[in-house]
Amino acid sequence: MELTEELKTKMIEVLNLEEMTPADIDENAPLFGDEGLGLDSIDVLELIVLLERNYGIKIADPKQGKEIFASVRTMADYVAANRTK
């Protein structure tokens, strides 16, 4: 599976985006704020766990997450460049 699709599937699962399918998530749309998915601060922390658990990427400072988690696309680029598993 393409990394962006894989991330969308995992996000739907860990963030309990119950009524969404991967096709509903635009990989370039903002994940936070009123547009796009509208994720919150707890979701950022859960995404950090997702990256660590699945790809061996450690993010110590949640503030760093702002850029990484801007969209599914930016997240996929970060994972591709930094994954250790």
Binding site: D40, S41, I42, L45, V49, P62
Partner: protein, 382 residues
Amino acid sequence: MIIRKIGENILSPISFTTEENLAAVMAGRSALRRYDSLWGLPFPCFASLIPDDLLESAFESDVEKGRLLMDSYTKFEKVVLLSAVKALDSCKIDATSERVVFILSSTKGNVGLLADENPDVERVTPAHTARMVARYFGNPNMPITVSNACISGLCAQIEAFRCLRSGQYDTAVVIGADVLSPFIVAGFQSLKALSDEQCRPFSANRKGLNLGEAAATVVYTVDDAAEDGWRMLAGAVRNDANHISGPSRTGEGSYRALCSVLDDSGLTADDLACLNVHGTSTLYNDEMESIAINRAGLSGVPVNAMKGYFGHTLGAAGILETLLTMRALENGKVPATRGFDELGVSMPVQVSAEHLDTGKKAFVKLLSGFGGCNAAAAFVKV
């Protein structure tokens, strides 16, 4: 109607008496220390833990064996019972009276039991512990347990205040306690709320909170003939209605709670020796409190936080911090905010790393917690 404090105890890693805990605060001492891998957890933390051996020997010597109804007691149950025993030793009340109510404040009680292979789930809830304590003292009433996150210790005192003001009871024994476990430490770590260094309330370089274990008990009674002593004047609980874990950017609930207790108590900024705040040392809490304090017109009042001595003691915090503030003010001091260095919040607040002299005998206690809840209460010594 006068609601007066008649008994108390603070049980912390520093000491099991209020006097010695106060002495430690005035001497700037703390039991907070760094643990590289507490209970084998895969991260360092800075915490304050009650030594098991000291607790065990105090429990053995101070608790009457003949009254115990269970075969064994968890650390949580021991600190709750021991603090209540010591507080009731400090005042003469008939705890078997139907005019006395027991109120417990705890966030997580015996949650550590869930790590057992076959956990005794009946015993996890603090309501179970509250009933155990009431039965130990032969009290006939159903105990009230407040579990309202980090503001529980103030909520429990506010419940006591109302129980007495309504005439339902004459005396309330209010116990607050929490002990740490991998559950609680890993949970706060997952929220990236912990600092692995000494916590620094309101400081620019604050990195997060330290957790601490404690139990504290205060006994209030209706005493319209009281000529002196500490009185509880007012209390309020308000919600941010914003987010379950993120503090309000406008300090909404804390602001509203502060306004309510100032209005109810008739106290003004000039009357207050200090505002004893939550001051967890997380970025968002301290920032939020600075906004609420300013909105409530209290930016000129000395602000202090106790987390640098004891860590965040969760369900005990509201009672422990209230009692220590009372005792320090009796000695004419506003305790220093241990760990504070350079102010790092957006609104002006009068935080000090040194003890301040004061002649005033009134203060407001403020707390906030997950679930968007906030509480404030006002006290005065006559």
